[in-house]
């Protein structure tokens, strides 16, 4: 049975490292894995989506509406934007950080309020946390991605040590300690 993880956020927030880490980890667990990314124009501060799929045999590289077991979101509005991709009974793991998109910046639209509550009102399980503060606590605002991976790891049967090993193999050595801390903070273990 193929499992689907969608990673969404704002271009430049570091979702590519998160998908690299997941791909690396799941491959080492013996799964067939597909990861689909977006490059080019869409990366310039726009809404970005990365798909990670794993199982015995994975065909499509993308995740469709109603298929995601997890939506991991770097930003609150982006979590809401992709809610239709969540499978019935799926879970959203999101950073509560709010980044104003250009229509909000120029005053053409307000930043929608209470999105997490609205999703929960639909019966969707939302695990929301301030990942930016935790990342800064770990030593860098850029570690939001690894904080989120820490949180996501709580929902997997894969032991934490394997995630930590994958982090060691995917990040530059000089940033490893900071990222390991971010991972534990995401798990609520530091």
């Amino acid at each position: 049975m193929t499992k689907n993880i969608m990673i969404v956020g704002v271009g430049g927030q570091g979702s590519l490292l998160a998908s690299k880490l997941l791909g690396h980890l799941l491959l080492s667990e013996g799964y067939d894995v597909k990861v689909s990314e977006v490059h080019g124009m869409s990366q310039r501060g726009g809404s970005v989506v990365t798909y990670v799929r794993f199982g015995d045999k994975v065909y499509s590289p993308i995740i469709d509406k109603g298929e995601a077991d997890f939506i991991v979101s770097f930003e609150e509005l982006e979590a809401a934007r992709y809610v239709e991709y969540l499978k019935e009974g799926g879970r959203i793991v999101t950073n509560t950080q709010q980044i104003d998109p250009m229509p909000v910046i120029i005053g053409a639209a307000p930043y929608p309020e209470g999105l997490i509550g609205k999703m929960q009102a639909l019966g969707i399980r939302v695990d929301a946390m301030d990942c930016l503060s935790l990342a800064e606590k770990a030593g860098s605002a850029k570690a939001v991605n690894i904080v989120l991976m820490g949180r996501l790891s709580l929902y997997f049967d894969i032991p934490a040590e394997k995630w930590q090993k994958a982090i060691a193999e995917c990040v530059p050595a000089k940033f490893e300690e900071m990222n390991q801390k971010a991972f534990l903070l995401g798990r609520g273990e530091a």
Binding site: S36, E37, M41, Q43, G45, S60, M102, P103
Partner: protein, 580 residues
């Protein structure tokens, strides 16, 4: 060794293992990483050429000399390279030659979604179409054998979802490169009419042989499942079909997009009750089936535009897609924007303020067309800004010459802006061309180009001086301006538009995302001084917003470029403190 590889990376691995020796390309999403990855192998000479036509001719030259070669581009790049493509179909090759063309259905980063398969049929060149990274790797290896066996260039068609998806690849070793001798052969390689007339029948005969080859080659395969429905498909659509139907339907997967087999398709059709074709963009396989007299479900239920998906395939062929929950409210969009500190911003603000008619080009600066700057009124294709301003001004004369400009990036200018500039210099219109020199090819992810002084590996290389080049063409008025300096931009723009002769403005500052660019600390807002006038918002910087009626700076985004400061009359935006 088994590893997760991007489709483009796997393609490059295939090139390497096949003994490719020379690669020349022009970057273009989603094709860029094939060449970037190939450049990591020291055995392959790799370069960024000024444009796709040059790149294809470089690759052809290497093939002619007897070494396996490669050339990569995006779909619209093949329009530029079409000239040599059509005729090297006639000459054939010496050593194998592989061309990558990457389509962008859904237009993630493109100005149209043309279907490159038409080119294979039009140029009568075989085309392979992998459906994942493993096939990109294997097909790239085999493409060289096909090229040499049939004496033809071979096109490999990628698409966004194959190029930019990672899947598992089991790689092998590089085969020792077999260099072929170069032999003078005027009848084969000099395409003047007398020779080309003799080459054309050879092309037609080759296509007949390739069609026979397509009937039972390893690129095409039948996967029999349920026989109520048979689906002919290729590329990423194959994956969507497998996802939606698994073993329920029988599948004819075509890995060779041109030429298409006949008997294989007819035999497959005879084994199933109902036949469908699933292909993104144009109905090429479908039309082929109809020519064979088959009744097929195709574009009567599937769209001609955009990307497909597993749910779409399931739904259009009568299956129920999964249900989902919906928020039921419209959310504000998040379109891509110019980055904080982008050097283009100050220049576009100046153009917007002066109410210029701006003819644009292809690159990050196309984002100058979106709110709040709304400063670009045309984006067509590479180089079109420079050529079209001349036509625009010839049509309207002084009415437009004093308020119209063309904007083009440094890489795009080298690609195909130079020839348009030569036309302005030659046929004389009082046009103002602005070269946005950010010292890199930005949109595709920072590739070097002939104006940067570095090659694809980042080593020092030749460097074309834009000022000298423009002056050599006969431009008397060539001015360099710093786009962070709004006052200077405004003055220079007004002067050059008013000039009664052709002029070039070079707006020069490196891309803010380049690693060597040193940033200033984020600005800070003096809340006492800020009157909430929103003047700083006019430049559309993602780092500035209004919170509680006052300007607010996002410290994670602001690079301290200071363009917004120049718009702040109460002087509320202050330089940030240097972090120790």
């Amino acid at each position: 060794m088994k590893q997760l590889m991007l489709g483009n990376q796997a393609f490059a691995r295939g090139l390497y293992e096949a003994g490719c020796a020379v690669a020349s390309s022009y970057p273009g999403t989603p094709s860029t990483e094939v060449t970037e990855e190939a450049a990591k192998y020291d055995e392959i000479y790799c370069e960024w050429a000024p444009n796709e036509k040059v790149a294809l001719e470089v690759a052809f030259g290497a093939s002619l000399a007897g070494r396996r070669s490669f050339c990569g581009m995006k779909h619209v790049g093949l329009n530029v390279a079409a000239d040599p493509l059509f005729t090297c179909s006639y000459t054939g090759v010496n050593a194998g030659m592989v061309i990558c063309v990457a389509d962008d259905a859904g237009m993630h980063s493109s100005q149209n979604e043309q279907d490159s398969r038409h080119y294979a049929a039009a140029a009568k060149v075989p085309m392979l179409e992998p459906s994942d990274s493993e096939e990109a790797y294997l097909f790239a290896r085999k493409a060289y054998e096909l090229s040499e066996e049939f004496d033809t260039p071979v096109i490999m068609k990628m698409c966004t979802r194959i190029a930019h998806s990672q899947s598992i690849v089991e790689t092998g070793e590089r085969t020792e490169e077999k260099r072929l001798p170069y032999e003078k052969n005027i009848a084969k390689y000099v395409m003047m009419p007398g020779n080309a007339i003799r080459r054309h029948p050879i092309v037609e005969e080759r296509t007949r042989k390739l069609t026979a080859y397509a009937e039972d080659c390893a690129f095409n395969r039948v996967e029999m499942g349920g026989t109520k429905l048979g689906i002919i498909t290729s590329s990423t659509c194959y994956q969507y079909v497998k996802e939606a139907f698994g073993e329920e339907a029988s599948i004819l997967k075509l890995g060779m997009a041109y030429p298409l087999p006949e008997k294989l398709i007819l035999d497959f059709a005879a084994k199933v009750d109902k036949l469908a074709v699933v292909e993104e963009l144009d109905p090429i396989i479908e039309d082929h089936c109809r020519k064979l007299g088959l009744t097929v479900i195709g574009k009567d239920v599937f769209p001609l535009e955009g990307e497909y998906s597993q749910n779409m395939v399931a739904e259009r062929l009568g299956k129920e897609p999964p249900s989902y929950k919906s928020l039921g409210e419209a959310l504000p969009g998040r379109p891509p924007v110019m980055c904080a500190g982008c050097p283009h911003r100050g220049l576009f603000y100046t153009l917007s303020k002066n109410h210029c008619t701006v003819l644009g080009d292809i690159g990050c600066y196309t984002l100058g067309a979106v709110s709040p700057l709304n400063a670009i009124e045309l984006t067509l294709c590479m180089g079109a800004s420079v050529s079209s301003i001349h036509g625009f001004n010839k049509a309207l004369g002084e009415e437009s010459e004093g308020k119209t400009v063309a904007v083009i990036g440094d890489s795009t200018f080298m690609h195909s802006g130079m020839t348009g500039l030569a036309n302005i210099a030659y046929n004389q219109s009082a046009s103002t061309v602005i070269i946005l020199d950010n010292s890199i090819t930005g949109m595709t992810g920072h590739q070097q180009n002939p104006t940067t002084g570095y090659n694809i590996k980042g080593d020092p290389a030749g460097k074309i001086d834009l000022e000298s080049l423009c002056r050599a063409m006969g431009f008397q008025r060539v001015t360099v301006v710093d786009p962070y300096d709004l006052e200077a931009c405004d003055r220079v723009l007004k002067e050059e538009m008013a000039a009664k002769e052709p002029s070039v403005i070079i707006s020069r500052r490196p891309c803010a995302l380049l690693k060597y660019v040193k940033h200033q600390p984020p600005l800070r807002v003096d809340k006492e001084k800020c009157v909430g006038c929103k003047s700083c918002m006019k430049i559309g910087c993602p780092a500035i917003s209004i919170k509680d009626g006052k300007a607010a700076i996002d410290n994670t985004l602001c690079v301290g470029c200071g363009v917004c400061r120049q718009l702040c009359r109460p002087d509320a935006l202050q330089p940030g403190e240097v972090r120790k």
